[in-house]
Symmetry: C2
Subunit: 257 residues, 2 copies
């Protein structure tokens, strides 16, 4: 029975996509089957793992045109990498930008993604959903479809400021659409040796207590280079601090099972 | 006659808010009257310059409930800072998140912000509009209301990838809603001494040619600390590399007038 985990935070650029890709790959490296769902019209998870552009049909066709989920799942396996044997992807592209508006008046508009994933949940051990930087219908679909939400928190002021709003949204969804939704954890990202980063870490620990992952993702330029080659950090720079950290996070996740 | 400049880029965390605040303040430091318009439900520009939370009425009330623009303009002047004498703010808060959906079926939905700003354009030399990380109705309103769009470009791969989509949106708006919209320039942000940053800079120059500002904003932790005190960089750390860069950008803008 696959664990569905939404990676969400309405603040931009906090490491949602980087976490979906690299945690997903690290979990697959440990032998698990993983599905990555790109629910962001920017399609960064898609381009961060595959070179082809504008893959269709995509999540958009499944959400809006009822295309079967099997037709929008693509294998990453390429005969080269053994990790990629175990990773599939539901890609997105800019068509999905229309979805937020088209969904507004759609039947069961918050539960579309949940229904899409239903038939395939048992084919995977973990399903990670990459969310856009907003609390709109795409993120709401992701949170309504998930058992858990993982919250990346960039070690900077604005990131901390937006957290209470995200939590309110999670609470609303728990009350209404998805009572079993839980916070898997808060992941400090882009950590470095500044006073500010340390302050955000302490503030996060005070606020979230044991929900803050022990693993902290350091700022590591390799993590920002990897997507330009459509590679995870484990393929691009396997001994970098970024790779080490995401592997550590994968182990921490598995230990908490 | 105020120059209205939208600061836009659908990629998250590229420095839109940091640029609106600090370029706005640097322009005011040169003696100009400036209006900052926070068109992002995250309200980061608002919290980056004012300590009060949930200021109402806000942009939301003007956009959706036809509250007069004069009632949503707040002065930043506080008797202490001379720069703040010349800066006003139209704040936003989370109510604005509802606006994207409420605007979908509204009359003249793309031109609301343009109409709101019409009566006050001549009260300012520069009006900067902070956009959310999306190409939804709020960004479309900002682009339709503006004479110029300034595009912050973080020196990383994903930021470059999203640019062509932003440009397509600008083109669409030029054809339909706002033929006089022009790209004021592309601003490299969070620049540092990595190969990747240098590559993004060269790629931006090849693609945008003379539209790339000469001024480059360096990565400077002071810029990320300042908002936690609701201060611009000019107030928080006036001799930091971030302050120097934004002053330099202000001068470059004024020279191109
Ligand atoms: N630990 C890190 N060290 C260095 N760079 C990083 C790190 N994590 C992410 N990045 C880079 O920072 C930028 C923002 O990260 P990312 O795109 O993953 O954030 P996001 O939350 O998905 O953004 P958006 O809100 O736009 O979807 C990207 O260019 C990414 O490559
Ligand atoms: N030059 C810089 N050096 C260091 N930190 C910076 C710099 N510019 C911005 N930051 C910090 O990086 C983060 C992202 O910047 P900012 O919030 O301005 O981007 P944004 O494009 O407005 O994000 P969003 O898409 O979420 O609105 C913030 O925490 C900000 O304080
Ligand atoms: Mg992303
Ligand atoms: Mg912003």
């Amino acid at each position: 029975m696959g664990k569905i985990i939404a990676v969400a935070n309405q603040k931009g650029g906090v490491g949602k996509t980087t976490t979906v890709i690299n945690l997903g790959f690290a979990i697959a490296e440990l032998g698990k089957r993983v599905l990555l769902v790109d629910a962001d019209p920017q399609g960064n998870t898609t381009s961060g793992v595959k070179k082809e552009r504008n893959i269709r049909p995509s999540l958009y066709e499944a959400l809006i045109h009822d295309v079967s989920v099997k037709d929008v799942i693509y294998q990453l396996k390429d005969g080269n990498s053994s990790i990629r044997e175990r990773i599939d992807l539901i890609p997105s592209n800019l068509d999905l930008a229309g979805a937020e508006v088209e969904l507004v008046s759609a039947f069961l508009r918050e539960l579309r993604l949940k229904n899409i994933l239903e038939p395939v949940v048992d084919d995977y051990d973990y399903i990670f959903i990459d969310c856009p930087p907003s609390l709109g219908l795409l993120t709401i679909n992701a949170l309504s479809a998930s058992r858990y939400v993982l919250i990346p928190l960039q070690c900077e002021y604005y990131a901390l400021e937006g957290i209470s709003q995200l939590l309110k949204t999670v609470e609303l969804i728990k009350k209404g659409l998805n009572p079993s939704l839980e916070i898997l954890g808060v992941l400090l990202t882009m950590f470095n040796r500044t006073v500010l980063a340390q302050q955000v870490l302490e503030e996060a620990k005070r606020f979230f207590k044991d929900k803050v992952f022990n693993t902290i993702i350091p700022r590591n330029v390799r993590l920002s280079e990897a997507p330009s080659f459509s590679q995870s950090i484990l393929e691009y720079a396997e001994s970098s601090s970024g790779a080490i950290a995401y592997r550590e996070l994968a182990r921490e996740l598995m230990e908490n099972e």
